[in-house]
Point group: C2
Chain length 156, copies 2
Amino acid sequence: MKNQIAVQDTYPEDFAHCYGCGARHETGHRIKTFGAENETITDYTPASVYTGAGEFAYGGIIASLIDCHSTGSAAILWMKDQHIEIGSEPAARFVTARLEVDFLAPTPLGMWRLVGHAEEIGDRKVIVETDLQVDGITTARGRAVLVRVSVSHEGA
Amino acid sequence: MKNQIAVQDTYPEDFAHCYGCGARHETGHRIKTFGAENETITDYTPASVYTGAGEFAYGGIIASLIDCHSTGSAAILWMKDQHIEIGSEPAARFVTARLEVDFLAPTPLGMWRLVGHAEEIGDRKVIVETDLQVDGITTARGRAVLVRVSVSHEGA
């Protein structure tokens, strides 16, 4: 069962203006990541401007989405591990220390689903593996090492 | 001595509409990468919308720029290795198979310089290492594995 609240909608004010995941960024991607059983899910349809060669997406938007999805996933997976419910307080917040992306096949523009799993959940470090799927086929795979940061709860 | 022609300005038509590096993309990054001695250089100033937390850049724009810079760098470094002058014919074109980014420190928005070196130059595979520098300080480091693709020379 999917959570009803996207983790990004519970971020503290300091993190609400990120181009990738900030719910209050006016022109950014504003991705929404949900926890579901033992995975995390972000559905995203890239705008038609994000072309690479031909009708395929350019690498940067793929790497960006995997990074954004990974930071949200780390928060969800860590909070679940700590038995903290999403929405019960401002979300834990993680930043990326290392990002790896394998581009397995050209990724068409269209409806993307990013599915994340925890490779490791520590006190301050979470490693998230992500499959970017289009029509059920994984075209890119990511691995991100994320570190938990202290957040101010004011204004959240 | 820096080349006078950016490699992206010599890409075949098929690759001129990439959001990251396409010289003909109307709203994309349109990065310009130049060869210089044994390195490659891309200067880029991200727009103020690309915020992460506070005044720092969001990870996606960093990963995107390192990816874009790496594809152009691969073309420059491979052509140099083959004694082909930039601009003498449509550029060789490389796509990213794998991208690794280490975020070493928060990267301020501002004037960025990406400096690339070859780790390996093969017939079809090039590995590029990139330092993203702000005011001479490296805040992110990339490593990309790139594969040469066949390009149509029509319309170039």
